[in-house]
Subunit: 303 residues, 2 copies
């Protein structure tokens, strides 16, 4: 395994080979970030994905969580459990790709375990990262009344390809953390229809102008097949792995958007605002400029 | 899940609830230690174990790795994958016990994930620890010619109970790291017959005097059933989760043993020495005071 991971896997004792891996603790005053998500055959991938694509999805979905905190990834531990009948070739291709993806993202793979398990194939990654010096982690629930809300990229129709072939928004998350303008950030893994709540604090509602949503071409294609409309797919397909974030209410949006465009080719869309609910109101999601049918469907999904 | 883990699971953002957990990096100049081992139904446990026993085994087998480095545990991430038919009661009991074991060992459970998987039940733990201030991690391959070799506790017959009901030798490992006398340490998970190699450097042999081996009562019981002799079981049963360690060759053993007894009730046995091989000799294990039958069997097992 260590061989296949290539130079992403350091020598012991930093890497595998002793009872534990031994890592230097970060020197600067940073926070460590930890996330853990698996890919399991039948749940997160199937025979339509190559081992390379499964490995890419595994690392990238974890990287997306580090991106959502504005951090940079540092190291990972990978535990595999698999049926003895799974071919060495599959395993080898999986590890080789995982090593290459890790290397490209400056992630050292420092530990791991391989176990047998009947009729099962799953890979469990624990990914560590850290905040950049002099930045704070981008938390979820710290947006304010009047915070403008943005998403990166475009949404929906991810089943065609994007659910495994996406770019974690690491550079964008780090830039947001450095900007000091971003109050709250999360990544869209369950779909905007659920994950808007991540950046909507208790007592607040997320007001989304549906005419501003960046709907992907694949969501349009899905809509032609399903008849449910592109908005439905943009809200509910999930696995977009884009960032949703809320800025300080006083942010000069023209300057922000101009700075963003100077820095990134990645699309960014201002889709709405965080609003404080008044009195006993408990609305969590307010949709503007949408069809009645979709709104009903959206709310159904959310409850 | 977080509720069931009780006070072992801190609030977000240190605990679960954001895209990542946010941890303060260690302040002192320590090394971080990382290990990851799962328990999988059908491999590491079965219906003979209660959910509490499975949870205890999961945490303890990882704690044993931290112990083998002379470290103290700090935090853990737990990923569960399970068939939807598994009862809520099983899961609840598993998490409650995991939380209690974690609390007793000052381990914070900071992250986790639960996935469904058909016909599968497995729990994957990544455990972090750190070295004590002013101590170095106890590595495996750093013993010397003439290093006396010790094991804690007694060996073999672990299938009866010890494979899940054991005490990780954390206090002993930390004491060894602080002593400055210990050159090399590992834990016995695959049995002495395999794991002696962990503390035997390249070009060396581990010379074990079988008359000095601490053979457990359960190994005696196993031997009565199997006819293979108690030594066979002490070497080959595995899952002892005791420490094997090698001291500096100049150590005053009488003083060491006296200090140990002042500190611990845990048995410690001086079972042999690390010897440098001469010339082209490639022996890795030398057994003294053993029966011819066992020696042959032992060597067979090792090759």
């Amino acid at each position: 395994m260590k061989l296949w991971l290539g130079s992403a896997a350091p020598q012991a004792p930093e890497g595998m080979g002793d009872d534990c891996s031994v890592l230097k603790a970060p020197q600067a005053k940073v926070s460590q970030l930890v996330t853990a998500d698996p890919v399991i055959y039948g749940q997160h991938f199937n025979d339509a994905l190559s081992p390379e694509q499964a490995a890419a999805k595994l690392l990238r979905r974890n990287l997306s969580d580090i991106a959502a905190m504005g951090g940079k990834p540092t190291h990972a531990v990978i535990c595999l459990a698999l049926d003895p009948s799974i071919s060495v070739s599959w395993i080898q291709r999986f590890y080789i790709q995982l090593g290459q993806e890790a290397l490209a993202n400056e992630v050292r793979i420092v530990g791991g375990d391989v176990s047998t398990a009947d009729n099962f194939l799953g890979a469990f990654l624990t990914l560590y990262g850290e905040t950049l010096p002099d930045t704070k982690p981008l938390l979820r629930q710290t947006s304010q009344d009047g915070s403008p809300v943005f998403v990166t990229g475009s949404l929906g129709g991810t089943i065609f390809k994007k659910h495994f072939d996406f770019t974690p928004r690491l550079a964008e998350g780090q830039w947001l953390a450095k900007s000091g303008l971003c109050l709250s950030c999360s990544d869209l893994s369950d779909g905007l229809g659920k994950d808007y709540a991540n950046i909507t604090p208790t007592g607040g509602t997320c007001e989304i102008d549906c005419s501003l949503l960046p709907i992907s071409r694949d969501a349009q294609t899905m809509a032609e097949k399903s008849g449910k409309g592109p908005l439905y797919h943009a809200f509910n397909d999930g696995e977009d792995f884009e960032l949703i974030f809320a800025l300080h209410p006083d942010t000069d949006l023209a300057v922000f958007l101009s700075d963003w465009k100077d820095e990134f080719k990645t699309r960014v869309s201002h889709i709405g605002y965080i609003r404080q609910n008044s009195g006993t109101e408990t609305t969590r999601l307010t949709l503007l400029n949408t069809t009645k049918d979709f709104a009903a469907s959206g709310y159904e999904h959310l409850r």
